[in-house]
Symmetry: C2
Subunit: 194 residues, 2 copies
């Protein structure tokens, strides 16, 4: 950010009075430009124990597999965003049963909210942002070709809970580890081991 | 938004190619300025069945009572934000046990994430943004002087679960009703009646 979106003058980095953080502040009108994390909402579309994955037709991670999900929009609920993204990316209609994961990604200032859902029909197909969409059983999941660590952990929890016949909310953080890989730090709820 | 924060030229409202929504787009560098909902994270600090409320020393809703909560910052997790706000607004140290509510406020493009937590000590006091902080039992809650509808519903679910000796995640939306008041629309999880 270089300019004030209210008056067009330059912004500088400074800590406003009463604040503790560096913000972009306009040198002319003194508007403070706060920046905050974004929510990514999506679905785990189920059918007879399988889940629907989308092969990405866009960067980042072109050609890798993911669950249908995307940025929540203004004036939308997280559930509406999850349904919209599932329709846009997989042309799939689902019935949502529950919020299943809330994962923080502090390194990219995102929060993923993924909902368990049941496909209403099998008339799904690749949307504009997908090359291919397909149902996968646990032993068919292309684990080495999953686009994002947060999706990998969502799927791991999902299939573990499926084996245990007990689905429950999972929370936690996807964090950068010292070796450059991404790890999972469980949230405060109990019994979150994989 | 009137100006591009990247180059300082004017922005206009238009639907970019491949998009379906009106965005602010720069007439010079063509940068698209997306806007997204913000997360408010906070705590329900408990002690012997009572909860800690803060009387607001700032607008909006100056003088009204609320739970400690505030906007999540970049590079922060929702749990870190909840703990930080609880320390800032109530000088209170808590141990978080679980994510308790996820409420969408589509009319103001916010998502509230509130955590159940236990006070580590009784050495709490009003922070800069609070006039007073105080523990309340259910029959002491100043229901007519709660600052925000989302906090009112959080407290209602909390005390109902406390009576039932069974706490669980609640999700839903705070929506504007035809008569101008705010109502609650339960999320997809079962058994969310108050």
């Amino acid at each position: 950010m270089k300019f004030c979106n209210q008056c067009g003058a330059e912004v500088v980095g400074k800590i406003p009075a009463g604040d503790k953080r560096l913000r972009y502040v306009c040198i002319s009108c003194e508007a403070i430009h706060y920046q905050n994390p974004k929510i990514v909402a999506g679905c785990i579309p189920e059918h007879e124990g399988k889940v629907l994955l989308c092969k990405r037709a866009i960067e980042p991670r072109y050609g890798y597999w993911t669950l249908p999900a995307g940025f929540m929009e203004l004036e939308e609920t997280s559930l509406e965003a999850a349904l919209r993204e599932t329709l846009e990316e997989a042309n799939a209609r689902v019935t949502v049963s529950e919020l299943y994961t809330v994962f923080n990604l502090p390194n990219v200032s995102q929060v993923y909210m993924m909902y368990r859902s049941q496909l209403q029909d099998l008339d799904f197909s690749a949307g504009d942002e997908s090359l291919e969409v397909k149902l996968f059983a646990e032993d068919e999941i292309p684990w080495d070709d999953i686009a994002f660590t947060t999706i990998k952990y969502t799927l791991k929890f999902y299939f573990k809970d499926q084996q245990n016949k007990q689905f429950r909310l999972h929370t936690g953080d996807i964090i950068n580890q010292d070796d450059g890989s991404h790890g999972f730090r469980a949230g405060p709820e109990q019994d979150q081991e994989l």
